[in-house]
């Protein structure tokens, strides 16, 4: 995404680097553990895998104090409005990590009760497959979110990049048209 973006003015660039470093270094997840992935997320937070080394062990109960919402588990139809409400309560900048296949796409539960992917409800930044994903996989995804956070553009520059990204996405081939590929 960043290759097509125009380079920012020098001061903004320095500011972005600093803000990105600060944000990435201490992202506070909002507790949105729902099901089995929540247990793996708790396992990632504890001593063996320890996301405290990335500054992320502080799970905030209140979404107002949180940066990242790790949707860990299956979102049922009853829970979807609450998911949206919690997302809306978070302050910018915020990121959403869909942990597990149930959050990414509905997973193995293709039925009346489960929302087929939380991207129907909230915009997702990183999709993490797995059922449940191993804690190492979650750490990998969190490192990717840290990369996103550290490269997040600021100020007026932000709108230009967003517009450029949207134009590129609209011009690209949608996945459903990528026929004939085995991989």
């Amino acid at each position: 995404m960043n290759d097509s973006s125009p380079t920012p003015p020098f001061i903004v660039g320095q500011l972005e680097d600093f803000a990105g470093w600060a944000r990435a270094g201490s992202m506070w997840p909002a507790t949105f553990g729902l099901a089995c992935c929540a247990i793996e997320m708790m396992g990632t937070g504890t001593s063996r895998f320890d996301i405290a080394r990335f500054g992320m062990e502080v799970f905030r109960g209140s979404p107002r104090q949180a940066d990242i919402m790790i949707v860990a588990g299956r979102v049922s139809q009853k829970m979807a409005p609450i998911l949206r409400q919690v997302y809306d309560q978070m302050a910018e900048p915020k990121w959403v990590l869909a942990m597990g296949v149930c959050a990414s796409s509905g997973g193995m539960f293709n039925n009346y009760a489960i929302v087929q992917g939380v991207d129907h409800v909230v915009p997702v930044d990183i999709y993490l497959p797995g059922c449940p994903p191993r804690p190492e996989m979650l750490i990998n995804a969190l490192l990717k979110v840290q990369e996103l956070a550290s490269e997040k553009p600021m100020l007026r520059h932000r709108k230009e990049i967003a517009a450029a990204a949207e134009a590129a996405a609209l011009a690209a081939t949608p996945t459903s048209d990528m026929k004939g590929l085995l991989r």
Binding site: T31, L34, A35, T46, M108, I114
Partner: protein, 450 residues
């Protein structure tokens, strides 16, 4: 819970309320009306929501509290935020594939869901006595390791919710030790789909015995540490002793089983009263207490972990002695055919198995094909199986229409049943005790909502 005192079949109440306090009964849907009415009544009475997204509700549980000052006057639990439609989904999958679905109900203790479902299916098939001994020992081993894991989560998250994070990290480190073993044997840390109708999916690798024997003292160390951290701690005692009491009569009325019933004095454990999977041949105790409060339940859970370690040690001895024996039922028309192994390019089908089905035996190829694509048919009828979950009695009602898919699979999760008691545990107490009460019931919302 307001009981209808005019019901002729009800037992007489233990005490009568004089009917002066305004009563609200909330069962979802009418929540806004109740909140309005309570606001009108004013005063110190607050009605608030301990919403589905909450760090201390053990999952997505919604609690509607009516509070006067610090005292809880009424509490209602709202569930269904994790309803996954697992039972309906199982009707569209074969009997073996059902294992992968039911295992995700109570995701903290997944092997028990699998075990009870497989026991129900085996009852329908009539092969309960044909399950090989080694398979039963492996089932017991997995169930006891999962029991330790589940109790550690209960104790750990209970401590975390009261503000002591060290309890959680200690408990989860202990849990990771059991996970290393479980992952070595089944391939996955959780949601394993290891116990299948007819036995278990695969035999354990060669070095498992030493690994398990090495794990036992490590887990014991963690349990000792948890006991040392918590049990004599005055804050811990202050917050848990005398809190969330559920006496014997209430337990029996509400159908509560598991550590809550055992803490009220009844040594009821399905492993002893209706042994399954060979439990009658193991030497273990069933810890019981009479205090019926949250503190005694934590003590009970820790003691059950020690007992489980005893059983694990006995399992390991038997596994060492029975090496080479089959782990699936002998009937090839039911036994899961595929064998996996770890090769140079990762995990995949075992070459020996492929050589067998492709080169040596036509019947094996047919069985493999039919079992994997179609599944085995189960004679029509219904059966009920029950196991002793870490949380209580987990039951499974399976109905078959003679086909390769369940007609109906219903699970009686102990968390669903025990959660009804939450109102009794908390009403009249303080707000801070609500968190302790939830932790002491130790329900898993995946099992509650299914």
């Amino acid at each position: 819970m307001t009981t209808d005192n005019n019901a002729p079949h009800a037992t007489s109440g233990l005490g009568d309320d004089d009917g002066t306090a305004p009563e609200f009964t909330v069962y979802g849907g009418d929540w806004s009306d109740v909140a309005e009415e309570a606001a009108r009544l004013g005063g110190q009475r607050l009605v608030f929501n301990m919403g589905p997204q909450h760090p201390s509700t053990h999952g997505v549980l919604r609690i509607m509290l009516e509070v006067e000052g610090e005292n809880v006057t009424e509490l209602r639990a709202g569930i269904g935020y994790l309803h996954t439609g697992i039972e309906k989904n199982m009707e569209f999958r074969t009997w073996t594939q059902g294992v992968t679905f039911c295992t995700r109900m109570d995701y903290v203790a997944s092997m028990f869901n699998e075990a009870v479902y497989c026991m129900g299916v085996e009852k329908l098939l009539g092969i309960t006595d044909d399950i090989p001994d080694r398979a039963n020992v492996l089932r017991v081993l997995m169930m006891e390791l999962t029991r330790i894991g589940s109790h550690l989560v209960a104790i750990g998250t209970g401590g975390n919710e009261m503000g002591a994070t060290t309890v959680m990290t200690t408990a989860f480190v202990g849990r990771e030790e059991t996970f290393k073993v479980i992952e070595h044997i089944t391939g996955l840390r959780t949601n394993n789909a290891y116990i299948r109708p007819g036995g278990v999916a695969s035999d354990m690798p060669d070095d498992s015995v030493e690994m398990i024997r090495g794990m036992i003292p490590k887990v014991k160390e963690r349990l000792d540490e948890l006991a040392y951290l918590q049990l004599e701690n005055p804050i811990f005692k202050g917050r848990l002793q005398g809190v969330a009491v559920l006496d014997l009569a209430s337990c029996m009325a509400l159908g509560v089983t598991g550590p809550i019933l055992r803490s009220a004095g009844v040594p009821y454990d399905l492993r002893k009263s209706e042994p399954y999977a060979g439990y009658e041949t193991y030497d273990f105790q069933v810890p019981t207490s009479t205090e019926a409060d949250a503190y005694s339940r934590v003590v009970l859970r820790l003691e059950e972990c020690y007992e489980s370690l005893k059983i694990v040690a006995q399992c390991v001895d038997r596994l060492e002695a029975s090496e080479g024996e089959p782990v699936m039922v002998a009937d090839k028309k039911i036994a899961w055919p595929a064998q996996l192994s770890v090769g140079d390019d990762g995990q995949g089908n075992s070459f020996e198995h492929i050589r067998h089905i492709m080169g040596e035996s036509m019947e094996a190829l047919i069985h493999h094909f039919k079992l994997v694509t179609e599944g085995f048919p189960v004679p029509a009828g219904q059966a009920y199986a029950a196991v002793e979950n870490p949380k209580g009695m987990l039951g499974c009602h399976v109905v078959s229409d003679g086909g390769t898919k369940p007609w109906r699979a219903h699970f009686r999760d102990p968390g669903f049943n025990n959660l009804q008691a939450l109102s009794m545990l908390t009403e009249g107490g303080q707000v801070a005790d609500v968190v302790v009460a939830i932790a002491t019931i130790d329900m898993v919302l995946g099992g509650v909502d299914r």
